[in-house]
Amino acid sequence: MKREHQETGAGGGSGYHVATAADMAGAKGKMTAASSMGMEDDDCGVDELLAALGYKVRSSDMADVAQKLEQLEMAMASTAAAASDDASVLPQIASDTVHYDPSHLAAWLDSMLSELNAPPPPLPPPPPVAAAVHQHHHQRFDVSTASAVSEPPAITTVAPLRPSDAYGFKPVPPPAAASGGRVVYGLDPQSEMIVSPRDQKRKRTCSPSSSSSWGAEAGRARGSRTEGASSAKPAAALPVVVVDTQETGIRLVHALMACAEAVQQENLKAADALVKHISVLAASQDGPMRKVAGYFAEAIARRIYRRRPLSQVDRALDSPALEDLLHLHFYESCPYLKFAHFTANQAILEAFSGCRRVHVIDFGMRQGLQWPALLQALALRPGGPPSLRLTGIGPPQSDHSDALQQVGWKLDMLAKTIGVDFRYRGFVASSLADLESRMLLERDGSEGDRDDAGEEEAVAVNSVMELHRLLARTGALEKVLRMVLAVRPRIVTVVEEEANHNGGTFLDRFTEALHYYSSMFDSLEGGGGQAAAAGEEEQQQKHRAMAEAYLGRQICNVVACEGAERTERHETLGQWRVRMARAGFEPAHLGSNAFKQASMLLALYAGGDGFRVEETDGCLTLGWHTRPLIATSAWRVSAASAH
């Protein structure tokens, strides 16, 4: 029974495994199972059987890991025996420990062993600026409490605030004049799309300095294969969660797929007929599937007809202010952005632990929804808040309003109220690739005697759904990541949509997007928090309608656009890991404390049971039922790149 068994195909029929042609790729299949668990190529020598179950243990380490398990059990049993007579339940100290990356058994066990052997440390001293050696990263972020009751660790993040609460007044709506009075919101999603995503790129030529570079880039990039395509891998996993098993729902999906296939085969006549058929089917459908089908059908229609030239109205409808408004409603209507902000802030807080001067660079400032909570948390930090510098980056505004500055003023007022030394700087840029590191690092002259000359500034770079846009332009992501390296950040927080909308064929992309947005729309419907009063219910519905429009724009971009215009180039965690590693970053794991707090906040804000927080390889995802939809990861400059 201790013999190692080879899996052999019992000739014909189903033996120990199905002996089909698919099994010629059997090894590949296994690797796929493993790669769906998030394994990369450098995990050679791991025990395959354990890897298939989600645990990475090198075969050569197996005996060592076994020994650690034994040691841990003995250590805990003796501590427990001393504390109580219940030897099978481990003392609280073990459960209050922050856990990281449970897949890496050896490291996980190590961190717990050192927890038990060493007394809990006081607030950790400021870590050295140079990148830490890999195996110590667990200790650095380890904040354990010795209390008997399970309490959140010393570093806390306050629950995300409603934007109106945070700023004390409502955010500024877009000026009606700019839209020419023709703003159509998504209450009727079948009607005219608010703006062609194609126009989004055009608007970024408003600021004279960048228009020439964009025009040339757009021309060059169109039709050429961008850097975004992922390298050949075993067949990607396609997670499918079926909620609506209505007969018409299935026919609708079938028709959409057939339509996409026709488009791929350039059979535009068939595609056109199918688009009309889809509209008919969708009309008789109920719920989120109807809306999703509507947006996809609309997007295919745009692709088929390639609306050109762009009308004046189209251009007018497209404004960053409008985009921000939809974004705000998306923020309100579902927990994804709140989760993103919360988990990113958690990582930033931990990285800033013990630092007296900190600098956050936000790649997508928008209305600064993420920052009030961080300010609050820093204000409440034991030992007092650091001085915080915030650099916000945003696109040029078509109406020449200075939204970027206004956000800064609001945050400044909040900071004054809660007693945090705060400085703000906004940068307008059409693309992150236009930025230079020295621009971000240089300080304005007004520092004067507030500058603690001796101490270095700890930098965090924060990117919430911004990096994927860079994949539309060859080399842009690499340039931006080089810039990030150059600012020597202590932590880089990245939040991205968890989907591959950037690889393979149009049909692949379409299929992925259909499943992704189906889950998304479903969560908007099913996950609405408890609205007590009738007025709140109406408000929630408005948020939802706008949130759907926000997502609808993404759908349109994914399906109807190509080349430089297709900016919604979402990629999965697995793909981002490869990119970040290549660029010189290593993972900074998010731990069980962030997981727990995110889960608890979810229960407060989301109400619906369908939302799930999951941990994979040190990253946290939020999804609807079993389908992760958004992923937060944190990164450090790798030891190799530090020199």
């Binding site: 029974m1 495994h17 199972a33 179950l53 030897a87 099978s88 399970s150 969660v241 389908r627």
Partner: protein
């Protein structure tokens, strides 16, 4: 705990391959951290530590999976596993997922994952792996039910969810096969899942839903008295009486003891199964599992009530032997399961 820790570790290490020992010991360690003396459970940490896999409609080794919500208002999720539909498309369409895998009779296995009623989910990696194997083994469609767990949800929630899944599956036209368009269903489960399979089978027998067979892998049963096997094996092979007690307390109603019929179906409080059209059972018992006396008593009880039982007793097997394909126990038990299903699917 009987025996010193060191002795127990050495004994259990001799009984299983090293990677199995690491896997099961890791679970034991983690689970110890999750159970609190006051009867509460650290659910957030449990979810954080559990290794999960997404469903995958792209064929892997000829098997695909997808998640279904059974009924929009209910939040009962199940993961469906099936042979990859034969389609020219690289990725099956939604409609393809609901095509019967074959015109000939095929089994539907409703699977209840283990975890002592408190741990794991239908998307836990260990159970995803096992369910995929069942598909390959028998050409089955497997429905892995994500039943509500204790201590948040006590008896009878898990049984209710199991029953709901069975009823849902029995009404799905694509799950019927053969010239007689019959729903050929097996109920299967390991540990607490085995217990659930039994109780759902009772309900099925009482309600006229025909079940082709029950497959119980190390099923979780118990009772008030301490059996010989419990005393002899306490703490020796990953499991202790104490943790068993905790899990029963967490699942059974407030104030109930282990002679509650959910725990002890042939105990003093149980209803008789004689005369009921209860299905045939394949019961697999591991010789190093401390609750084997209860499992053997269960098998006996079924036989005495006039029901067909095939008992497979693996003398040297521990709990969890079916999680890794690295022992004779694994392959021979899989063979038994395959034979049982193929024989009774007609």
């Amino acid at each position: 705990m009987a025996g010193s820790n060191e002795v127990n570790a050495n004994e259990s290490k001799m009984a299983v391959p090293l990677n199995t020992w690491v896997l099961i010991s890791n679970f034991k360690l983690a689970y110890n951290m999750l159970r609190r003396p006051d009867g509460t459970f650290d659910r957030h940490l449990a979810e954080f530590l559990d290794r999960k896999v997404p469903a995958n409609a792209t064929p892997v080794n000829g098997v695909i999976s997808f998640d279904v919500l059974i009924g929009r208002t209910s939040k009962l999720l199940s993961r469906i596993y099936r042979p990859a539909p034969s389609t020219s498309a690289a990725v099956p369409l939604l409609a393809d997922l609901y095509q019967p895998p074959s015109a000939d009779p095929f089994p539907v296995i409703i699977f209840f994952h283990g975890g002592s009623f408190a741990h794991s989910s239908s998307n836990s990696a260990i159970y995803d792996s096992l369910c995929r194997r069942f598909v390959s083994l028998c050409g089955a469609v497997v429905v892995s039910v994500n039943y509500r767990r204790s201590p948040e949800y006590k008896y009878p929630c898990a049984y209710d969810d199991g029953w709901a899944a069975l009823k849902w599956a029995s009404a799905e036209p694509w799950l019927q096969s053969g010239k007689d368009a019959k729903f050929r269903v097996f109920l299967a489960g390991d540990s607490s899942g085995g217990n659930i399979a039994h109780h759902v089978a009772v309900r099925a027998a009482e309600s006229g839903i025909e079940v082709s067979g029950n497959i119980l892998l190390n099923p979780m049963f118990g009772g008030n008295c301490r059996t010989e096997s419990e005393k002899r094996l306490d703490g020796k092979y990953f499991v202790t009486i104490r943790d068993r007690d905790w899990y029963w307390k967490a699942y059974l109603p407030e104030g109930a003891d282990r002679d509650h019929p959910a725990c002890n179906p042939f105990g003093p409080n149980a209803a008789k199964l004689d005369g009921l059209p209860f299905t045939k059972s394949l019961i697999i018992v591991a010789g190093l599992d401390l609750v084997q006396d209860w499992q053997l008593a269960y098998a006996d009880g079924l036989k005495k009530a006039g029901h067909s039982v095939k008992l497979v007793y693996r003398e040297q097997a521990t709990i969890g032997f079916y999680l890794l394909p690295n022992t004779d126990h694994f392959y021979q038990v899989m063979d038994e399961i395959k034979n049982f299903v193929m024989t009774n699917v007609q």
